[in-house]
Symmetry: C2
Subunit: 271 residues, 2 copies
């Protein structure tokens, strides 16, 4: 490059790199190397970005001091932003053309739409952004796109629990569990090398009824000597009120379908 670039140029570059890699820490040395500027100047640039992100509620630019320090983008939403996303989701879901015979609601277009998923993922990740979490865990299939987006936001790897063991994944730990709502025995399986002992995980799923799957994941993690430190779902059912797990975070509450009135009962979940 050689020639010095302007402050506006530096701000565009730094913003781009931080925003594309949420929760990834970049050192001032990193920016100093690519931009060929003193760290003191770059610190001032970062202060500008930090202030404007705060002012416009665009998430946070955070600085970690010290030798292992650096700067990162934390795509935290405000309570108000999460409220708006939940309202938008309720409107999207409460559409009678989604009703499928058998009392189901068609939602693939929501859970496979990356634009909507990003908003849901940010909403689900927000309470966990400052917590020490090593892995996002989900179970195949529908929760996977959401889980990888949450993992991207938290900048940690994802683990996918399978419903049956795979030859291609080597030695597997397999477990039976009771799906709370159907009282049916299901299987979950996970490659032994997927997760190290002592890992702290966040379980992400699209839907929770009785919490049998979340309970199963909690038990499976114990087999790996790992610990579930959070359970976050997009929707949970109003009944049963008592779930098989104690604490969980849910954006919306689902209270069944009124097939006669063609009404899908979906609301913002209150505490």
């Amino acid at each position: 490059m050689g020639k010095k670039i302007s402050r506006t140029d530096r701000i565009a570059i730094i913003t781009k790199i931080l925003v594309e890699n949420p929760n990834k820490i970049f050192t001032l040395n990193y920016f100093s190397d690519i931009l060929n500027y003193a760290k003191s100047t770059l610190s001032e640039d970062i202060d500008v970005i930090e202030d404007v992100f705060e002012k416009f509620e665009l998430g946070e630019i955070k600085s970690l001091p010290g030798a292992a320090g650096g700067i990162y983008y934390n795509p935290k939403l405000t309570d108000n932003q999460i409220e708006n996303i939940c309202n938008e989701l309720c409107t999207l879901i409460n559409d009678k053309s989604r009703i499928i015979p058998g009392g189901y609601v068609y939602m693939n277009d929501i859970f496979y739409n990356p634009d909507i998923l990003q908003k849901i993922a940010k909403s689900l990740a927000t309470p966990y952004l400052e917590k020490k979490i090593d892995y996002v865990v989900t179970i195949e299939t529908k929760g996977i796109p959401l889980a990888i987006m949450v993992a991207k936001i938290l900048n940690i790897p994802m683990i996918v629990v399978r419903k049956s063991p795979r030859l291609t994944e080597g030695t597997t730990i397999q477990m039976n569990y009771l799906a709370g709502s159907s009282r049916r025995i299901n299987t979950m399986a996970l490659a032994k090398r997927s997760i190290p002992k002592g890992a702290k995980v966040l379980f992400i799923d699209d839907f929770m009824k009785a919490g049998g799957t979340a309970k199963g994941i909690t038990d499976l993690m114990k087999e790996f000597e790992a610990e579930v430190v959070g359970i976050a779902v997009v929707m949970s059912t109003k009944t049963p009120k008592e779930k098989l797990i104690n604490e969980y975070y849910s954006l919306l509450e689902f209270d069944g379908i009124d097939e006669k009135e063609e009404q899908i009962n979906i609301y913002r979940k209150t505490k």
Copy 2:
């Protein structure tokens, strides 16, 4: 807000919004509303961002003229950037601790790592960024995280073909196909309402052997009167050289494992 903000502030905000939403078109009116500045001033801001992205090879800021026009971020990689990502991937994969009895290679840590996935997704999406594509299609399970990341980059929805029909997805079209490598008959199923007639789709998967799955997806799309306009995979096997489909884009070539030498033969795929 009231008070005017500075050019550096505007550049940080515009860059943030564009980069977080690749291929989503924002009008000048949109920025004018949130920033309270004239469109002529904002045009100049965007020129600054455009120039510096080009100079530093950070992707492209593109403008569409006219009434339906606007600005978007195109996260296109250069050939050289794709080469570097492929080399990095080969080094990551060619690690003897990945060898699983039975001739398999453990890769979950790669395909479930959002940081690596983002690089792979950009590499796979690059040739398709300027094409008219309506959906990214994949088949459960391993390709899903990659497919949603490609869908995010292209700013289009994803469709997940299932290996068996689901009650919860309504009327389903089900099809048998021959998995090319094992000569086994498999099933694929897709909800009828997933995809409209005439849609153009890009099939994304982690791995291709004989191309039986890609051929199956192509046939399934015909049942929906949709069309596969691209097939992109991370790895394809060296043999069979002739695949069941004609054209595909593959980043890497896999030529088996030398179990005695504990060597995984993985290379950059050449044309």
